[in-house]
Symmetry: C2
Subunit: 406 residues, 2 copies
C-alpha cells in the first residue's frame, strides 16, 4: 500500500555482520529479533526519543552509548513488543539480554545496545528472547540477503521493508552509506524516529559523527509526521566502521559526505511516511519566505498535522479553506494574510487574501488526483524555508489503529 | 449521533428578539440566516478567533464592537458560508449587510455585528442574503420557539441544536443566562469557539462583562478540541440586556453569577464535543497534581489531540501504552514517569512506572465500554489541575470530512 515508495538499491557495508530470527514475540511467527555485530574499531552515534515515558531499552542504550563513548560492538533489536511502561522489571530484562549477548560475543555488556518496538505496556517474553540469542550469533552474515532479512525483522505495522544505500567518492576511494528504518504510525519524531540504523565504512571521529547525525536527522526524521504522536521507543543510530577512508569535518569532502548522509536519512524518513498507516498520499508541506526556519517548520507542521487537511487530501478535495485555516492557526507573529501565496503541485491557488484569479475547483481537482502532493506556502516575510512530510488520514488509518491490538 | 447530549431546557431572555429564515446559502434549503435584535441598553462583550486568516465578518465584528464599546443593537449570522479567504471583496459584502440592516433597524451600521460559518474561500451570495433582511426584521419574536429556530439556523455539520439556560437569584430577583452554540469540527478554539451567543438580563458594565466572559471561556470553549484545528470564524459573544438586576464584580453575588455563566458556557462547549463529527465517545482528560495549570492543560491536550488515543477510544480499546505515549510526548519539565498515576473511569491502570498490579485487560475493556470516558492523570508534581474535553476519532469523522464538500 506504500505510496510511490521506490528506494535506490542497498549495498552491504563491509564488516557489518547481521542476522535475524523469529523468537515468537510476534503472534504471527514473523521475524522479530535482529542482531548487528559491528567491526572492532567502529564508532557509533545515536539520537533518541524525547518522550518522558521512554522505553527501558532507550534508557539502557543511551547509558551504554555514553559509557563507551561510541565504541559499540552490537545492536540487538526486537519488534512486536516495545518494553515501554514496564518499570524496573523492563530495565532488568533488557539489561539481562545485553549481559547474555556480551558473554556470547566476548565483549562488555555496555558495548551492546538494546532496542524494542511494538506494543507498549506488556512485559517482554524474556525466556524466548534469551533462547534466540545463540541462533542469532551463529547465523551472522555480511550478505545483502542478511540486510534485507533484518530490514524485515524490525517491521511492525510497516507494509514494506525500508533499506537503501548511497555511495560517494573521496580521494578516489568509495564511501558507502547504508541505512534501514521502520515505522508507520506513532510518528512525529522529536530527535529521532521509530527506529533507523545507518552504517558507513568511513573512518570518522565520535564528535564529527555526532554532528553529522544531528544535522541529517533535523531535515529528515525530525521533519516527518504521520499522526503527531511521538513514540516512546524512537532511535536513530549511525555507525562508522572505519574500514574505509578517513574523514573529518574540516576536510573539503565533508560537505559531500554530509549531503550523502542527509539524502539517505531523508529517503528513509520519507519511506516511513510513504508507508504510513492507511496512507494513500505522500504530502510535502514546503514553506518558503519565512522570517525564521522555526516559523516555516511550525506552518509546515500546522498543515501536516491538521486532520481536516489530511482528510481533504484523502478525498483528493482541493479544499483551500482548510489550508488557510491550518496556516493561520499556527499564529505566526507578524504574518500578513494578504502577503501569503499558496500553490498545490505548482498550481497557484491563493494570493492577495483570496483565491487566485486563475484558480478554479476544476483545476484544483485535477492536481489533487496525484498521489504525491506538494503544498507550497510562501509566507512573504523573509528568506527562510523548511519542508515537512506527511501522509493523508484515511479510513484505513482508523481501522488499523482501532484494531491494532484486537 | 451526539454522545449523551442532554442540555437543561432554555428560557428566553426578556427583550431579546430573534428570527431566522432560509436565504438559500445552504444547498439543502435549511435555515441559514439568523438575527438577534438586542434591547436598547444592552452591553455586549466578545472573544474572537486568533487564526491569522480570520474571516471578513470577524474583522468587522471586532472593529464595530470596539467602536461602540459594547453598545450593540443587532447580531446577524449566516451559516453555510464562512466568508473567509475572500479578501477585500468579503469585507465589502459583510459591511454592506451591516449597512442595509442598520437602515431597516434605524441604528448605526457599527451597532450591527456580522458572523459567518461554513465553507471557507467562497464568495457570499450577496443578493440572496440582502433579500432576506426584511423578512428577518419583520418576523422578530421573543418566544422560545424563536430561540429554538435560531439554534438550528446557525448549525453546519452539527446534528443537534445547542441551547440551554441557567437562572440564579440575586437579592430576591431572578437572573437568567441563556446561550446557544454551534460547532462539530475544526474545533480547537483559541479565545473562543466556532460560534456561541450568550445572553443575560443582568445589568453589567462593559469591563465586568468582558472579564466574566474571558473567565468563563477559559474553562469551557478554550478547553475543548475535536481535531486540533482552530477555525477562521470562531466567536463567543455575551450580551447583558440590563433589563434585570444590576451586578458588578465587587458585589458579593458576583461569584454566583460567574459560576452560573461558567456552567452555561461549559455545557455549550461540551455540547459541541458531544456532537463532534463522527463522535461515539465523550472524553474528559482530567489532569491533576501539576506544577502549573499550563502543564496540566498541555498534558490534557496531548491526550485529547492524539489520533492514536482517539482511535483506541473509538475501538473501546484500553490501550494504556498510547496514554503513556501521549503524556510523555508533551515534554513536561521535571516529570518523573515513576510518579505518574493514570485512572480510566476510576480504574487504576498505571503507577510507579508500570501497569497497576490490580489492572487487567479484562477490567480495562469493561470500563472502556462507557460512552463517557474520563482519563485522570495525576502528575505527582504539585497542586494544579485542568480538564480538556474531546471526542474519539471514528470512521465517520473521516467520511464526514472527506465528503463535506463533494
Amino acid at each position: 500500500m506504500a505510496v510511490n515508495l521506490k528506494l535506490p538499491p542497498a549495498v552491504p557495508v563491509a564488516g557489518v555482520c547481521l542476522s535475524a530470527c523469529a523468537a515468537g514475540i510476534k503472534a504471527n511467527g514473523s521475524t522479530d529479533m535482529v542482531l548487528f555485530v559491528l567491526p572492532e574499531n567502529s564508532v557509533t552515534a545515536g539520537v533518541f526519543t524525547q518522550n518522558t515515558f521512554c522505553a527501558a531499552p532507550v534508557s539502557i542504550a543511551k547509558d551504554h552509548l555514553a559509557k563507551q563513548n561510541g565504541a559499540i560492538q552490537a545492536l540487538l533489536i526486537n519488534s512486536g513488543n516495545a518494553n515501554a511502561g514496564t518499570g524496573e522489571a523492563g530495565i532488568k530484562v533488557a539489561q539481562g539480554h545485553c549481559n547474555a549477548l556480551a558473554e556470547l560475543l566476548e565483549c562488555q555488556d555496555s558495548q551492546v545496545l538494546p532496542y524494542s518496538t511494538g506494543v507498549i505496556g506488556e512485559p517482554l517474553p524474556d525466556a524466548a528472547m534469551r533462547a534466540s540469542l545463540p541462533t542469532l550469533v551463529n547465523t551472522l552474515d555480511e550478505s545483502l540477503t542478511a540486510w534485507e532479512l533484518c530490514a524485515k525483522g524490525i517491521m511492525t505495522t510497516d507494509t514494506v521493508p525500508k533499506l537503501t544505500s548511497k555511495t560517494l567518492q573521496v580521494n578516489g576511494q568509495t564511501i558507502t552509506i547504508t541505512g534501514l528504518s521502520k515505522g508507520a504510525g506513532m510518528i512525529e519524531p522529536d530527535m529521532a524516529t521509530m527506529l533507523a540504523y545507518v552504517f558507513t565504512d568511513a573512518a570518522i571521529a565520535k564528535a564529527d559523527l555526532d554532528r553529522a547525525l544531528k544535522t541529517a536527522v533535523h531535515g529528515s526524521f525530525n521533519s516527518i509526521t504521520v499522526d503527531s504522536d511521538t513514540s516512546t521507543n524512537d532511535a536513530c543510530m549511525l555507525t562508522a566502521t572505519g574500514n574505509g577512508p578517513a574523514l573529518s569535518c574540516s576536510d573539503d569532502q565533508w560537505d559531500d559526505f554530509q549531503d550523502a548522509l542527509n539524502e539517505v536519512l531523508l529517503l528513509l524518513a520519507q519511506a516511513i511516511v510513504r508507508d504510513a498507516e492507511g496512507a494513500t498520499k505522500f504530502i510535502t508541506a514546503e514553506v518558503t519566505g519565512g522570517a525564521s526556519i522555526a516559523d516555516c517548520r511550525a506552518v509546515g507542521y500546522g498543515i501536516a498535522n491538521s486532520p481536516l487537511v489530511k482528510t481533504a487530501m484523502f478525498a483528493s478535495d482541493p479544499n483551500v479553506g482548510r489550508l488557510l485555516m491550518a496556516i493561520g492557526k499556527v499564529g505566526i507573529n507578524g504574518l500578513d494574510p494578504y502577503s501569503v501565496k499558496v500553490f498545490v503541485n505548482g498550481l497557484a491557488v491563493f494570493e492577495k487574501g483570496l483565491l487566485h484569479p486563475g484558480y478554479s475547483e476544476e483545476k484544483g481537482s485535477v492536481v489533487m488526483q496525484a498521489s504525491d502532493i506538494t503544498v507550497l506556502v510562501d509566507l512573504g516575510m523573509g528568506g527562510h524555508q523548511a519542508s515537512i512530510y506527511t501522509s493523508d488520514l484515511s479510513h484505513d488509518y482508523v481501522s488499523i489503529n482501532a484494531e491494532y491490538r484486537t
